[in-house]
Symmetry: C2
Subunit: 461 residues, 2 copies
């Protein structure tokens, strides 16, 4: 126990410097979706590599991939000790609409013990917590309780298109006894939470083209099909009046929920009215016959993420637009196959597109859904570490979001993945005013410090 | 006849200077829809007033209105001669998407005997033709055959919201025997065309709001209604599978077409296949049971002019958007009432909006549809003037577009409105690469010169 206390004291003593370093990391606008930020993603990779060097890693390098660079590092204390592979990502979501941010997205600002910045919770802040726990262990202890490997990528927010190939190629380098991922959230403030399942992701861009250019809606209106109308017809056909997805075969691989599962999900703490007020919506609406919790975790979804066409300025411009587009993504649950879903979506669009317009469908990168057995000893130990610090029983949930690479790493490396996150559900990830509660910054690092010490005594398979 | 020849010779001799002046006029980005161009609309008004001064008008002034300034002028030759009121507008449509223009929209460029610029045909170019014909008459003749009054406004492209009040207030100033408007097109190259009817205009902006900010589509997808889905549902409900507008009561004031009208419309020259290729659409589609010509002139329409919500950038951002909006306008035919239509549209939106989102409806400015008896002597004379120059029989058509102020001027001043335009249907008005065929610039001015001389002998009621 004395060892862990040393680590925790080190973290407290160095907290101010650590937050300054995190601010530096958050200041790099490493938006993977926008090619204009290519240099920034490279800078972010170099920054993480620099941290590993300073911490005293045996090996630390920025490695090329078929996409953005991957940061890899390791610190091998003892061949016989367990080896933990920490996965995270240094890339972030775009920041628009930037005018809705209360402080600049790349200037980390603390308000009310919350750190506001793009990436604060997803995922730079949580990656940083791992870096600092490792620093604290290596600087304050004679020997690390476990071996560390680190894999930090720069394409998670665009679906990790090239990391599977990278992991296949570098399997030896990445070999470990378990993978730890902190890229999720506590179910509510103060409640330890292990995510034992994630939804997968599949999506398409739909581009509808009418006439070769925008037309005068008086001269041509009524004569020429409006591509916005065609798009609206296609999009509206995706769901029925019960908010069920009508795409043929969409639910074929989705097993009905057992009563046990439904009971377990109903037991997860959730204050619907509180959330409704917080989000400021008149009421919740979703797939009929399922609870809010079920709809957002164990049921698949289809959402339009963006739509655009024609005149968007102030006032009115009476055009009959030439083009209209929409971005559509589905969250998938086991055993939906992303490739199959993209195929079904594409067919559905084609079957519902009027022949008076031209429609193009482009698939986005995909991710498989993932579920892991939550009785594995490394997962049970993670729950114990959480409980030691948070003094609350751990909740086991299936997350609504997608970390497509998790299923891939599980498949390629064949070891359990522990999803222990320290965000909170209302931290605006992917939205303006993303932030991280600093309470969980501190408690989370304590939890990780305990976890790594406890892992030393766990029998690895 | 000797008089008209002098005028025509003057126009030929001064053609180069005239085109230079028109280029100056077209260089002023007088976009009425965008408040950032307020100074430009004022400059455009002053420019027109300056022209009237140079021409030698008795009176020329820029007059304030409740909106953008109005240019008024008159030249009274003889109290007993007919007085022509020339109406036009100096404002233009926005230019976006500006990247689709082959030359800058405010730098007039001649290619293939066509003058390319925003406003070239709608309506600066046609206003300018009137100015130069008046200049030619006043500079080359001892006495003008008619008295001229000029009313050039700056809000036509936003529905002339304040001109009716201005016209009511200044009825005495505007009193005339007829109104001439050149803001329309020949039905095809070389074919004189008088527009004896115009569609009206009514429209709304629909703003749908979901949660207070964009949400993560994984965390909240399936739980919270997506405002894009709500908007899509509303918009899709506007039309049925036969492309009929389903808004309750929408067609109540629209009389069925008589067989005579249908026969007359079928006789208007129209090459459907040629237009289809020109516009580059796979096929035409519109209200079932009506021909292309009927659908674009004597039937009312409903078109989405623009739609937007969520992420529009490169790639994918998996948000559940907070807001989605659409701009919708209807073209109306007699006897649809724009106020009533806005009311019906608003009710329809409210009845089709899910209660899980907040929906706001804002009306745009409106215009009444208009039809005039085409056997009035001033209209018959216009046809004769056209035929003298174009050597082709005049077509009488009902235009698909809207000039809302026409019905208002008719109502307020109680005199016939002659809609004789010199554009062409494919001149991209309201779209990128707007242009004016210079053939019609020359022939149109000749036609107007003849018309004013012929009017001298027409018995006014």
């Amino acid at each position: 126990m004395i060892m862990e206390q040393k680590v925790i004291d080190y973290l407290k003593e160095n907290r101010e410097r650590h937050l300054k370093e995190l601010t530096e990391f958050l200041a790099i606008p490493s938006v993977s979706a926008l090619s204009e930020h290519n240099e920034d993603t490279e800078r972010a990779a170099e920054w993480v590599k620099g941290q590993l060097d300073e911490i005293g890693f045996t090996e630390a390098k920025v490695m090329p991939s078929d996409g953005k660079p991957v940061v890899y590092g390791n610190y091998i204390q003892d061949e016989n000790a367990p080896t933990v592979l920490i996965y995270g990502h240094y890339d972030v979501q775009p920041v628009d609409p930037v005018e809705l941010w209360d402080s600049p997205p790349f200037e980390a600002t603390v308000r009310d013990n919350k750190l506001y910045a793009r990436g604060a919770t997803d995922d730079k802040g949580q990656v940083f917590m791992h870096l600092k726990v490792m620093e604290a262990i290596l600087k304050s202890e004679a020997a690390s309780p476990v071996n560390f490997k680190v894999l930090i990528e720069g394409e998670e927010e665009i679906g990790s298109p090239t990391l599977p190939a990278f992991a296949e190629k570098h399997q030896d380098l990445l070999q470990a006894d378990l993978i730890v991922v902190s890229d999720s959230a506590l179910i509510e403030k103060g409640k330890p939470t292990i995510t034992y399942g994630l939804r997968g992701l599949a999506g398409i861009q739909i581009d509808v083209k009418g006439a070769k250019g925008d037309l005068h809606s008086g001269e041509y209106g009524g004569g020429v099909m409006n591509p916005v109308h065609a798009l609206v017809k296609i999009l509206d056909s995706f769901k029925d009046e019960y908010n069920r997805v009508t795409v043929d075969g969409f639910y074929d691989q989705v097993p009905e929920l057992s009563q046990e599962e439904r009971d377990a999900l109903a037991a997860v703490p959730f204050d619907e009215e509180k959330l409704r007020k917080e989000l400021d919506v008149p009421e919740f609406e979703g797939e009929n016959g399922y609870s809010y919790t079920e709809r957002t975790s164990v049921r698949p979804t289809l959402e339009v993420n963006g739509i655009y066409g024609g005149f968007q300025g102030e006032g009115i411009k009476t055009v009959l637009p030439s083009k209209a587009s929409a971005k559509v993504t589905c969250r998938l649950v086991p055993d939906q196959d992303p490739d199959k879903i993209v195929e079904l979506l594409t067919e559905h669009v084609e079957n519902n597109a009027p022949s008076s317009v031209t429609v193009e469908v482009t698939p986005f990168d995909k991710g498989k859904p993932y579920v892991t057995p939550f009785d594995h000893p490394v997962i049970a130990t993670a729950a114990k570490a959480y409980e030691k610090v948070y003094k609350e029983e751990t909740a086991y949930i299936r997350g609504g979001g997608s970390i497509p690479i998790v299923a891939e790493l599980d498949r390629i490396l064949g070891v359990p993945v522990v999803l222990m996150g320290f965000g909170l559900p209302d931290e605006n990830l992917h939205a303006p005013n993303e932030h991280l509660h600093l309470e969980n910054f501190d408690l989370g690092m304590e939890t990780l410090a305990h976890y790594y010490h406890m892992l030393k005594d766990v029998e690895m398979k």
